[in-house]
Structure formats: C-alpha cells, structure tokens
Symmetry: C3
C-alpha cells in the first residue's frame, strides 16, 4: 500500500490508515519545514485553479516550492484554451505531458474525476464546485487530531451552508469513517444534499436520524438541528434516545463547531432565505449555547458568520487549520510523487465504512444528470463523456450521477431481456411499481419520461395501461 501515483479526487480515495500516514509525515515536516528543500527537486506541479482561491492554491504552491519542486500555474479559465472551447479532458491530457502532478480546482462538479481519468499523472482535487474538497478535510482532521490527540469518536457540529459547502461534504464522510457523531445544523434552505445523507446512511456503519427541526432547539437561537449521524459502536445508541434524551445529548456539547460561509456564488433560489437569520458565531453565542469548551473551526474565507473577536480566543482553530495546510500539502504531494514513502501502520482500529457496490447504469436512454454544474452537463464535455450513473436504490428507483453524485429519480423502466426477438415485447413500466423487482440490474433500461421510452420504440406495459392516469405522466 503506497500513495505514489495515486489520485485524490474524493476523501474516500484515502483509507483511514493512509490519512494517518499523511499526518505522520506532516508532523515530521512541520518540525523542519526548511529541511524539506530538495525532496521534490526536478518535479513539476501544474496548479490549475479555475475558481478563486487563496489558501488552497498558495499553500499547494508554497508546499511544492518548499519541497524544492517547481510549479506552473493557471489561475483563470479565460486565460486558457478552455476559453476557446477546449474540453477539460484535452487540457488534462496535455498538461499531464508537461507536469508530474496536477492540482485542479474547477466550478464543475466531477471535473477533478475527469482530469484524473484523462491525464497520465496523479491528480489532486482542490475543490470541484459544491462536490468535494478532500485536502481541506485533511487540514480539518489534522487539526482535530492535533487538538484532541485522536480522530476516533469525535462529536462535531456542522454549521451553516451544508448544501453548497464542499468542505463539509468531504468532512462528513471522513468523520463517519472515524466513528464520529455529527450534528447537522444547516442554515435554513441550505441543508445537506440528499446524496450526501444517503451516502452517509448506506455506505458507513453509523445511523442517520433526520428531524423536522426540533422546536426546543430552535428557540435557543441556534440553527435547527436537522439530523444527527451517530456511529453505533459509540457509547450513545441513537435508537435509545427519546425526544428528551436528544436534548440532553445535545447539551453535552461537541468537540468542534465547524462553521461555514454561505457560498453566495453557488446559491440558486435559496438565496433570499439563507441570508436571514444566519447567526454570527461570537463569544456570547458560545457562552449561551453550551459551547464553552468547543473548538471553533472554519475552512475560511469567512464573511460575516464568525466575529473577529474570536480571533484571539484559544478555542479558535481556523488560522491553525489554514496554516496546517502547508505541512499537510507538503506531506501529501511528496507521498503522491513518490518522493517520500508512506509509513502506514496496520492498526486494528475499526473502520466505520461498509463496502457497498452499486450496479452501474451506462445505457444512453436520454437520462441526464439534473445538476447544471455537473461536468457531464457541459456542452464541451458531453462531446466525449457519456452520462453514467449508479443505481443506489430500486425502491424507490434512484440513480446517482457517477461524476457529481447528484441524484435523479427516473419514472419508467423496461428490461433488455424481455423484448429480445419480439418488438411487441418492448414494454415500459412505472419505476415505482412491482415490475422493477423482476428485472436483473444488468438488463434494466431506464427512462425519464414516457415520451423518451416511446422514442426508443417501447410501448406502455399492461399495468401502465390498466392503471392509466395514475401511473401516467402528469401534465
């Protein structure tokens, strides 16, 4: 097990042990930043940032330079051939022939995966739209570890914009894998996306309980508690907590309050809602709400959600999180470039993740990812990418986009097996009926609408005809 040559597109590309090995090396390097010069001599990093960045880009570039390596940078799409209509796949292939490693930030969700797929060199995702930001998660976890001495069994409240905040998506997965309890406290309208909570509920061993906003908590002036994720091996079985128990649980406080900025640049119709009542985290709030011993974390940049008076407070971790980006990225880059070897301890620690293997759906039956910033939805990219989904549920039928992980619930199905030989047997059925259980996942054909099915030569199946309007398309 080695990190050399590996891509880091989502935080789940690294195992728990590998994450710990990055931290071990970061510890070593931060003790002697100046002594690392030359570790990556002769190596070239392509730093491709197509969205604004200060911390991430500068710490990656400083890291590479402090390792003695070199950096070639792109900081704006309009200065590149992407502005002439080039696809990111072409860019990835070309840049991969000049550099030894690519660091990419892009506004399209799934873009880093495409770059990794098409370039010959390892790729690090430095943020792909609202999807993931795995190296920020490494900085966050490293800070938690430094302050709490362990990553196991922590209790963390995620606060603010959980919908578009890519850092909290990557962080939630990582926390789940280390057996954490997570309190979701979104700003109204900016709740965790369904695909994130479903992933937490199905691919990790913990249990996710959603609430419709317990009023008692709301009255305290905090964001409503939207959901709790709790690892069953932990001391508190969520199932045992009645309504009153929950409040007790909450009053015990959390290890860290992870505050996030409203990602104004990504907001859609939630825009108006989210601005209202976004509470400022300050000393008063921490005192009143039982966060006296809670670390305050923030991936930065902050805008109005975190008071400047917190800066000198010993509980504030956000400048430490940012500063630790340097040793973390030095360690990560030198491991991926194979300039240093990972010391991966084979521990007997439990890993709170499940191996789940969903069937893929790759037939082109007109289904498109509904996410308008998904890389697969872009005109330049759809020249070579085919939409690709995982069937993460059949009852109800839910597809997850293989690029951006957004979900879609298609309404009609058929089987490739039934109609073999006879056109008359080409029939489609409602996805929510019982027919789906009779179809082998390898044979399933999925349509988003009746017209899509009919365009491909399918006729309504018997049940669909019988039940009529109920199953038919709504006008």
């Amino acid at each position: 097990m080695n990190l050399a040559g590996r891509d880091l597109v989502t935080i789940d590309d690294l195992s728990n042990e590998e994450i710990e090995s990055v931290f071990t090396l970061a510890d070593e390097m931060s003790d002697s930043i100046g002594g690392q010069f030359g570790v990556c001599q002769g190596k070239v990093m392509a730093s491709l940032f197509f969205e604004p960045s200060t911390r991430t880009r500068l710490s990656f570039e400083a890291a590479m330079n402090r390792l003695g390596g070199r950096v070639i940078s792109v900081v704006e799409m309009s200065n590149t051939s992407l502005a002439k209509g080039e696809s990111i796949a072409d860019m990835a292939r070309v840049v991969g022939s000049y550099a030894d490693i690519i660091v990419i930030r892009h506004l399209w969700e799934g873009a880093a995966r495409v770059v990794a797929d098409y370039s010959d060199v390892p790729v690090i995702n430095a943020g792909d739209g609202g999807h993931e930001h795995p190296t920020q998660t490494l900085c966050d976890l490293y800070t938690l570890k430094k302050e709490r001495k362990t990553l196991e069994g922590l209790k963390i409240a995620l606060w603010g914009d959980l919908k578009y905040g890519r850092t909290v998506h990557s962080l939630a997965y990582a926390l789940a894998r280390f057996g954490a309890t997570i309190h979701f406290r979104p700003s109204p309208g900016l709740e965790m996306p369904e695909h994130v909570t479903r992933k937490l509920a199905t691919e990790y061993t913990g249990r996710l309980e959603k609430y419709d906003g317990p009023r008692a908590l709301d009255e305290k002036g905090l964001f409503p508690l939207d959901a709790i994720y709790m690892t069953p091996s932990g001391p508190h079985q969520l199932a045992n907590i009645p309504a009153v128990g929950l409040e007790i649980e909450l009053e015990k406080g959390v290890d860290a309050l992870y505050v996030t900025r409203v990602q104004k640049e990504r907001l859609g119709p939630e825009s108006r809602l989210s601005k209202k009542g976004y509470p400022v985290v300050d000393r008063k709030l921490l005192r009143e709400k039982g966060f006296e011993e809670t670390m305050v974390m923030h991936p930065l940049p902050r805008v109005d959600e975190l008071a400047y008076e917190m800066d000198a407070d010993p509980r504030s971790m956000y400048f430490k999180q940012a500063a630790r980006g340097l040793p973390i990225r030095m360690a990560l880059v030198s491991l991926i470039l194979g300039a240093r070897e990972a010391h991966i301890l084979q521990t007997k620690k439990p890993i709170f993740a499940r191996k789940v293997s969903y069937p893929a759906y790759t037939r082109d039956t007109g289904i498109r990812c509904p996410n308008r910033v998904c890389v697969s939805s872009q005109e330049t990219e759809s020249r070579y990418i085919r939409p690709e989904f995982l069937i993460v549920s059949t009852d109800p039928l839910i597809l997850r986009c293989a690029y951006c992980e957004h979900e879609i619930r298609p309404r009609y199905i058929a089987s490739s097996k039934w109609h073999q030989g006879t056109a008359e047997n080409k029939r489609y059925y409602a996805a929510k009926g019982s027919m789906i259980s009779r179809i082998n996942p390898d044979n399933i054909i999925i349509f988003d609408s009746e017209s899509a099915a009919q365009e491909q030569g399918f006729k309504p199946g018997r049940r669909l005809v019988e039940t009529g309007a109920q199953e038919g398309e709504k006008p």
Copy 2:
C-alpha cells in the same frame, strides 16, 4: 553558426540545419528529461502571454523549470502597465533588464518583432495574432520527422482555417523549405492570405497553383482544394498534371492531414460563412476520402472539427505534437540561452528557398498598414514605430507591411529625383501605368490617394491628367 542570443520571431529565423539541430537536442533531452535539471540554473525566463494559452505557455514554463531555470509570468494584459497605456516597446526594454529571455504571445501581428527590436535579450514569438507561431511549427515538424524519419519531400494537406490560423502560416513556409508538397484545403472564406501565398510563390523554389475549387473534389464532401504548392525537384511536376492527373495526384493521399480550428476570436465578416459545412474529421471521413494511411495532426485546442473517437486511433498525432512541445522547448530555450551548444550538421541537402531582397519603403507619405491588428496600427505603438514596408512587386505595385506582412496596393507614385530643385516637377502618376518602371526603387514615393499626394505638394502628372477619370479616384 550558433543559436545563442538569437531571436525566433518567424520560422524563417532558423535555417533548415538549425531546425534539425534543435531536434537532435530534443531527442537527447526527451531521453532524459530529469537529467536536464540545472542546465539553465540561475537563468530567468519572462513568459508574457497576452492571449489565452494552455499548451504553449505551460510547456515553455515547464521546459524552463525542468532545465532548472526560473520563470516570471504575465498572463493577462489587464494586469500590467499595458492596461495603463504603456507601449510594448517600453515593456520590452524593462522586462529585458530583468530576464534573460522573453517568450511573448500577443494579439497584435508583428508584436514579437517589436519586442525583439526593443529588448536587450533574445525573444521567442509564441504567437502574434494571425501572423506566425514558429515554435508550434517546430513541434509539428518534429512530429513529422519522428513518424516519417525525414522532413524531405513530404506531402501535407492543410485543412480548415488557413486565413487566421497562425500555425499553418509558419508551417507552410517551413514545409516549402524542406521541399514539401502542400495541399491547401481551406474552409470556405478562410483561404490562405495573399501575403502567404505570394511569399510561398516568390521566396521558395516550389510552384504554387491556385484553383477555383475543382468541383469533382468538392462533391466528395471535402473542402475544395484551393491550391497546391509543389517543389519542382519532387517527382511530380505540377506543370505536367492536367485536370484528370490532378485528381490522381490527390488520390495518392498525403502523409498528414493538418486540421485546424476556426479561430473564432479573430473572425470578421467571414464569421457566418465559415461555420457552415466545416466537416468533422472522424474515422468515416478518413476511410471514405482516401486518408487511410494519413496522420491526423492538429495544433490544438480542437473544438468540433476533430472527433473524439480519433483519440485512440494510431494515426492521431495531436497529443504527441503537444507532448513534444516539452523537449522541443527545452532544447530551444537552452540553445538560445547558450546553456547548450547546437550541433549543426553541414549537410549537402538542398534548401528549397530563394534569397530574395525586396527594397524597403520607409517614407512617411501617409501609407498605413490596412491590418487593424497590426502592431503598427495601434495608438500606443504608433508613438514610436513608423510604418515600414517592403516593395514586393511593382507590376502591380504591392507593399508588404514589415511588421505583420499584410499587403497593400497603393495607387499613386512619384519620384524624389524628378522634382529636385523645381516644385513644378513634383508630379504624381498612377501606380499601374508605365511610369513606375522609370523610377529607381530608392527614389520612389508612394501615395494611397490623390489627396494624400496633393497634401504633400504634388500635382497630377501629365498622363494622369490626359487619361482623366480612368486613372482618377473612384468616388
């Protein structure tokens, strides 16, 4: 003969042997990219890109870094003093006092020449508007040489936007010098500019035959064959080819189909015309049109003109062209910086170029380059640049702008000798009459209009008066 300290503004700044010597060093360096670190230690490259770029800028910067040199970059005009109205001459002088070599891309045609004229360090043209792009040509020729083992006597079809595609201008000159046959297959409205075809016809030893689009070829669905350039020492004398013979000649296929993108960012009124019927190069086209054994080349970025299915095809060379930009630019930069010496073989190979020396025209008689993106047409630059032309033909009278090479056909002439002493003798004549043959090129005075001539104190000459309206200015 040495490359140290030399400028590379047009591809003709390098002789055939010098081009081969760059390739020899590129071969050596690509065998050991990692071993070149330190070759340019302590040297600084200024990488000035005022038009979007991915491949060219990043490969130049990666090249300098892999040689152990350093790079200072500018990637957008608006971030520099050019935005405050500074001339590129001033910029060139100043940057030349900080860096050891300048690489410049600019949208103004002739800009690289100005930078080379005003800076004290060697300058490489990384693309000046629609004029030239000599280092792309080095990548193209290097790829042809690697694949065909020779640069002599190749047969190449240039395809697409031949008007604004700077890469095909530089490439056509280089191919001509190596004795190639070139098929010009422009997208309608985007034919090779007159100044390029005239240069090919007069400054190289081959013969250029233009067509008004042979219908038979058109029906095949290819771009009309607009012209053929053929080196006479080659086996096929163009003069011997009748109409039927031409078709046979064409059916023999070409070594490479050099596809180009429509340069949308430079299009003028041709904009509408060019989009229509731009055929996509895909496997089907290659199969049907007799290009089975043809290499497919493209300077990239591509947009819609080259199908993604070609990427895995062994005939596709475009990613190789791009990847070879690294060793080519490493070799070129180290030679120009004098960090490596060129091994220039004195071969007895023929050079298919003619020494042509055109008289210069530098008098300020109101003649301006008609090209609105010529560097000499810019307000900031006209403060110090005087328009300068070469008299490339006297019958008809044609001037070629010394900066961008665009042509102008002025309509009136006079002689500085005739009127010496007597104002009465200050007479101007029609450029297309016989008077021009009586004027020594050193003495010629040229006007674009009768009013320009009269403003400078000249009167209509006798013949102009006699012939009257015919010679006079059209309303």
Copy 3:
C-alpha cells in the same frame, strides 16, 4: 540596527543610513547578479498584486528568483478569496503562514499597513493606492546617487500628477530627509495633497513655501510652480528670496526633472482639467526651459508626457531607474529576509527630519476617514479595523488618518474629563473656538457634526449656544 524581519510600508520606515546600506549591497549584487543564486534558497516570497503592475512585480519576482528563492503570486483580486468578501487581514494572516515575506500592492490606501499588522512575516509595500510606493523611491534615489555621487542637497523638480502619484509622495519625504530642494510643478488640479505638504512642513527641517502660480513662469509654458521646499542648511535661504530672486533660483536649473503620468485610473472630478495642457517633455522643452543639464526621470509607465525621442538622450534616466529595480529589490529582500546583513555606516551626516509625536485619537465618535479608497473605509475591513487618527494640529483642528494619511477637519469637540459624574456637563463646543486649548489631548472627544455629538448624549456648550447660527451647522 538590522533590516531582518522589518516591514517597509512607508519610506520613513528606513533611516537615511539604512537606505544607503541597501544601496551598498545593491552595488555589490549588480556587479555579480549571477553570483547571488542561492542567497535566499528555501525562502518563499508571496507576491500579491491587486493592481496592475509590470516593473514592480516582475522585478520583485525576478529578484527573488535570482537570489535562489521561490515566489508564489497573486495577480488579480478576482482570483482570490477577497472576491468572496474576505478581509485583507485574514488574507495576510493566512499568507503569512505560507511565505517568508509578503510583497503587496493594493488599490486601498493603508492596505500595506494592515497586511503588516496582521501577518507574522515582514511586508513590503509595493504601492497602496495613491499613498506611497517606497521601493520605487529606493530606485529613484539609487539612480540619483549613481549619477550625482551623492544624495545630499539635490535639487529636484516634481512634475505632473502630484496628487495621485504615489511615487512622488514617497520621493518627496526621502528627498526632504536628505536635505534636498524640491520644486513642485503639478499639472493644474493635481497639486500635492495637503497631508503631504503638511508632513513636509512639520516633520522635516526644511521650509515649504506655497505660491499661487507665479505668472512669469507660467508664460514660459511650464507647469506653474506651485511650491518650493527648501532645506535651511542649504545655501539658498528661501526666506531671502524675493519675487525676482525666485526666478533666478529657478533658472539655475535642477538636478532632475521627475516626470509622472496622470494616474487616470484614480482621477475624480479633476479628470477633465488635468488632460488639458499637460506638456510633453521632449528635447525642445528641455532646451527652451533651461533644463539642458537636467536628468529626466520617470517611474514609468509613461503615456504621452515623455517623448520617445528622449529615449536615446543621455539625460534620460527612466530605463535605468527601471533596470536598477532588480539589484535594489535583490538587496532589499535579502536584507529583510536576513539572508544578508546590512552594513550600516554610522555617519555624522545631518538628518533633515524632526522627531514629531502627535497624539492619537482612537475614540469611536463617528468620525470616518473621508478618503473613499482608504482601507478603513471599506466594508470588508471595517469589521475589524477601528478608525484611528493622529491629531496633527489643534488650531485649526486637523486629524490625519492613521492608515492613508488623508486629513479631516472635524467641527466639534468635548472633553471626557468635564462631564465625569454629571450628565449635565456633557457639552460640546466648536473646534475652532478657544475651548480646545483647555482640553488635554488625552481627554479630547471629537465630533464631525452636532447631530453626532447629540447622539452621544452631548448638549451644545454655552459658547455654541451664544454664538448661535454662526457656529451651527450649515444647512
């Protein structure tokens, strides 16, 4: 006395001896630019340019690279988290944890001070709006020293845009400290700001004489002479110069004519005025106006104010000024990074500056800096910065903004001592009355308007009531 770890925000952050020590090292380094590679190995410079730059940024980056150090760059605000609403204080803290030194240019006046206050590493101001540009002044002084062999007692004419030209502000302070005579020849409407002339008059030992534009000089076609600053230890006592004597003084010529560009990007209502009659400096002007032996200096970029024919003239210093930016910045950076030690000669040369210590005014009584580009006026920055002023005069009452140095003349005062205990004693008075002399500066409370005073619970003082409308607010 050492420069290691020091900030350079204004030119007065360096003593005369320290300036000379930078020049000594610059001399040494310019004799062997190539020999400096490695001096700053392993060090990282953050080069943060939020306004366009060619010379300053590229020479800083080239300097760091030629010292063997590394550079991480930001060249546009829109590509950073500042675009997401981050404060520069947050940015400074974070970047200071990645780099060893920060070079910052920003359009907000006082921004470099804020960055220096909040980052843990030394900061060099590379231009903060129209405020200061100390490293340009080092290039200017270095050029003067190289050409005149001394910095003492020079006579310099400052020409053009003295209002927004940050280079002339820093230069004027430095010249004054070295005992220079300065002729101020502003373009109409672009006179030196009051805060600069007041500082010259009060913090340096020379005497400043202002004129209302002597006509005789105006007729010569020069810019009107607006003011003269003359160091009393010099041979010419300004006090002794009657009107005729002044003209003789002026006709003796100056060592250098320091020409500046109109800073179009900063112009407000003066815009129309300034363009008119901005005379071009060319050979004719130098000949006719008695500048035959005068050096022509310019910080560049130039636009129209300096003729290209001057470029080859031996009196022209502007390209030398620019070129000397390289050794100057190499010396400065290596000294501040502690990679080289300053050899500071303890001379007995006089220093023409006064130690002045103004009382600070930091109470929040609603007074705001009137400068709309002051860093303290920005929404993002006012979250943590409190307005801060120096009381530079009490008769009349003048506050100087501690960030941008712009002046404000508040109209009402009170004392914190008088009203202790009794609300009835909370009275405010006119600032221009005699009451101010009775208030200890530590106790003074200042208001910009009567309404501001009343909002804070103060009532009009007796004298204010008696004098009534005269002292009251104008409608």
